[in-house]
């Protein structure tokens, strides 16, 4: 088990490095850098001025060197300006270059500076993650029990009326993307068009104080999409388990139907949906981007949109790193959890 964890962590590390290199290369494409230069010193500068600005600000080095600096493996760049003052990546304003750290990158906890928010990237991301964490917590709280209950109820008697009704509902839910369901919810429940002014169309106030009124719609919008999907997986898995021979054994042992479902079928039926749920978590981040923008909830997704829209390279990189870690961690949890559900699998 320990060996397995070590192996998985090593693989995760390699994956993370590969993915961040790709993101780094994409965000540092020359046109992006040019845009930064222009936004810093004016749009009407010449190409030569752009190059010189980039060089002065450490963007001139080869891509991999800059990646190393960002990661904190290579020493940060330093330049001396015309006044003889040494400045560089790791030297804060007014700091003595001699006492400044040589390396400053992600590994040292220096995530860079967000040009949009005029704040440290780490702070921006921490705030965004906190808010999104709150949203995700409620989403999972609604989605997982809802989806499993729907799936199990539908799958335990395949082909019954309950099954058909619940399956149809799940298909509708899966077939409606967040940007459709979100808009529909806002139109139905908040606007005067329908007249049901039950909820708030904006979740901005939920950042400090989440209530049923301002938080229901964003949570529901994200949860519904995933719920349909997970419910269908659970249903299929449950229906298959219910036809298994050991269920017949249990039935002919005289076990009552509720006990068959709870004791004999459920655990076997949850193996497949468990993986799907864990896979859904990074996928939910997708929905979070849309929903947070739609409901103006300033979480992680909203931050990502702001960073991407404003060419905020450091912030974008930070957001990607966090996303990659979230994805890999959920995978690890799903693999380990699998073992507990399915005794036939032993990790080596």
């Amino acid at each position: 088990m320990l060996l397995f964890l070590v192996k998985r962590l090593v693989t995760m590390l390699v994956t993370a490095i590969c993915l961040t290199i790709v993101v780094f290369a994409l965000t540092n494409l020359p046109p992006n850098l040019e845009k930064i230069a222009k936004s810093e010193i004016g749009t009407r500068i010449s190409d030569a001025e752009v190059t010189s600005w980039l060089d002065k600000n450490g963007f001139g080095a080869p891509l991999l060197v800059r990646y190393g600096e960002w990661l904190g493996l290579l020493p940060g760049w330093t330049r001396t300006d015309e006044n003889g003052v040494v400045y560089g990546r790791c030297i804060r304003e007014g700091e003595d270059p001699a006492t400044a750290p040589i390396r400053c990158g992600v590994l040292q906890g220096e995530w860079g500076y967000s040009r949009v928010f005029r704040q440290e990237v780490a702070d921006v991301i921490a705030r965004g993650l906190g808010l999104t964490g709150k949203l995700m917590f409620w989403v999972l709280l609604v989605m997982v029990p809802g989806a499993l209950l729907t799936g199990v109820l539908a799958g335990m008697r395949e082909g019954s009326r309950t099954d058909r009704a619940l399956s149809t509902a799940s298909i509708v839910a899966t077939a409606t993307p967040e940007y459709v369901s979100g808009v529909v919810f806002i139109a139905v429940f908040t606007s005067s068009a329908v007249g049901l002014k039950w909820f708030n169309g904006s979740a901005t106030s939920a950042m400090d104080d989440a209530t049923l009124v301002n938080f229901t719609l964003p949570v529901l919008t994200v949860a519904l999409y995933a719920m349909g999907y997970v419910a269908r997986m659970t249903r299929a898995s449950m229906a298959e388990v219910m036809t298994a021979q050991y269920i017949r054994t249990a039935r002919l042992k005289g076990v009552s139907f509720p006990k068959i479902v709870l004791r004999h079928a459920l655990r076997n039926a949850l193996i497949a949906p468990f993986t799907v749920i864990m896979l859904q978590i990074p996928w939910l981040l997708n929905g979070v981007v849309i929903v947070e923008t739609l409901f103006n909830y300033k979480g992680f997704g909203w931050t990502l949109v702001q960073a991407a829209g404003n060419n905020d390279i450091d912030l974008l990189l930070g957001v990607s790193v966090v996303s990659v870690i979230v994805v890999l961690l959920t995978q690890l949890i799903s693999d380990v959890g699998y073992v507990f559900l399915n005794p036939r699998i032993r990790l080596a």
Partner: protein, 707 residues
Amino acid sequence: MNASHGLGTMESAAALLEMERGPILEIDDLSISFFTRTREIPAVMSFSCSVMPGEAVGLVGESGCGKSTVALGVMQDLGVNGRVVGGSIRFKGRDLARMTPAELRQIRGSEIAMIYQEPMASLNPALTIGRQLMEVPMIHQGASSAEARARALEVVGDVKLPDPERILRSYPHQLSGGQQQRIVIAMALMSRPSLLILDEPTTALDVTVEAAVVELVKELGRKYGTSMLFISHNLGLVLETCDRICVMYSGEAVERGRVGDVFDQMRHPYTQALFRSIPLPGADKNLRPLKSIPGNFPLPHERPPGCNFGPRCSYFQQGRCDAQDVPMFPVDGGDRHESRCLRVREIDWSAPDTIASEQEKLAPGPVVLRLEDLKKYYEAGSSAFGGKARRVVKANETLSFEAREGETLAIVGESGCGKSTFAKVLMGLETATSGRITLFNQDIQSTPIQARDPGTVSKVQMVFQNPFDTLNPSMTVGRQITRALEVFRMGRSGHERREMMLRLLDVVKLPRAFADRMPRQLSGGQKQRVGIARAFAGSAKVVIADEPVSALDVSVQAAVTELLMEIQRKERTTLLFISHDLSIVRYLSDRVLVMYLGHVVEIGTTDQVFAPPYHPYTEALLSAVPIADTKVEKTHIVLEGEIPSAMNPPPGCPFQTRCRWKSAVPGGLCERQVPPMRTLAPGHQIKCHLPEEELQRMQPVIRLAAT
């Protein structure tokens, strides 16, 4: 008050007595149908049967005859589509069909218990054995978990599993197939049921394991006085376990009576045909070939009018047998012996079987295949990061033998003995670790199949065990055979290959029209014929038949076996017949090779191997095979313990852990040294330390009682 009370007890005592005398299970005129969207499919028709207290009744028939449906009908568990459409099933005098679901639940598991065909599938993979066993008394007797656990420990001991505590803690996948089946039996016995339904309980198990399980079931049946309904397709097994037998054909009982009556004085043409299609001792491929039942099993919705067996029956009389439904007729002289045959009194049942045609014995030709010290080891359990000691699975150890042209060499052994590994090495799917395989003076031991030239590939071919999985479901039959011809570079043009393919269909006796059919439209026997045609497409010289008939029904087995023999006679093919079924091996092979844990323990001609002196393992194997002949007497040898793992074989002789002759060898030699191959008679070799005089003292395991 007192008097009436006394009367009450007397009455109930009388009722109890009545119940004791009456049958435990009484199935009367039962009809079960399955309903699909388009039609009603009758699966069981006017079936009657009764099981008395302490009696074991065998239900015999081929797949699709409705025997399992009867069992599920008794359990009232026919699924959404199945329904009892007529008749009644009474359990201790109560009609099961009239019971509420709650009453049924009370009976299931406590009064009627069932044992299933596939033990692995019928145990819940996510629950420990202990929890699954304890559940039964907790539901039915309201036992506390401590009481239930105590009972579970006791029953696990009863089914003779070692270390019950550990077993209760383990999960089903951690046990072997035989142990799993014992657990299923233990589960059925948890609340001492009065009726046990066994649905092919040993079909998925090895012969020696089967023998041990059957022994156990018989013993427990005696101990608890349980009545049994034993469903099987294996007549020999029914003879060993049951008091009465009921033969089913196409949804109907065709003959029933005491086992002895039915086996010795069969009074239904189907029963007779069934017995003539199974290889009994005395059958011989040249002098007394098996007789398969002509035609096919009728589909439930295509049953003929009148007698269902009519179209395949050699006593069929037009206008009479197909005129009306045939009722059961009592047979004179038997105890409740009945037969569903109109002509039961007319047919001369003792008339000897017409012998089809005597065949010349095929003289073996030159040696075509020679194996010398073949070894195949696998490495297991080593991982890139582990660094643990590598474990080696010795699948084949020093395999040496030769096979001649036109000869049938049977390779016998239980699962895990290395017979399939050997087949893989010979085919080139694996390469040998060391040793030599010489095929027509060409060394092929280290040439994988990709590197073999089409000539060599087509010379060594294989017929697989399961015809259902080995045909591509989306390719027509003709295309699959043509494809084999292309691979073997046979024929110059597509047209020529099509001609060859049609001729191959003739050879395996399939109508030419089948060339355009899809595999799903074929029955199991027909699929196996396609498999045979494919194997012989490149005029193979050596054919490995890996349990070619074990997945088929008895009546079809005979036909497929005969087909293989016939092609062999014509083509002078060397047939390596891998099987665990010793009856069929005895019937068709010229020489037999017995394997155990990767070792060849005995090799010789069929007569030498099947007569003493035996290798102790061969002796146990022979005694384990159920034989459907009341005149045969067998010595019962039940092997103790499990087959050791090939990963961790015992030191010395591989069989020493289970050998009953071990004490006859002085000085514990068996535990220290692998015995050398000894030649007992020309061509007869065994790998055993037993001294000569002990071997001479061995008695034959199977004896034909004097008649």
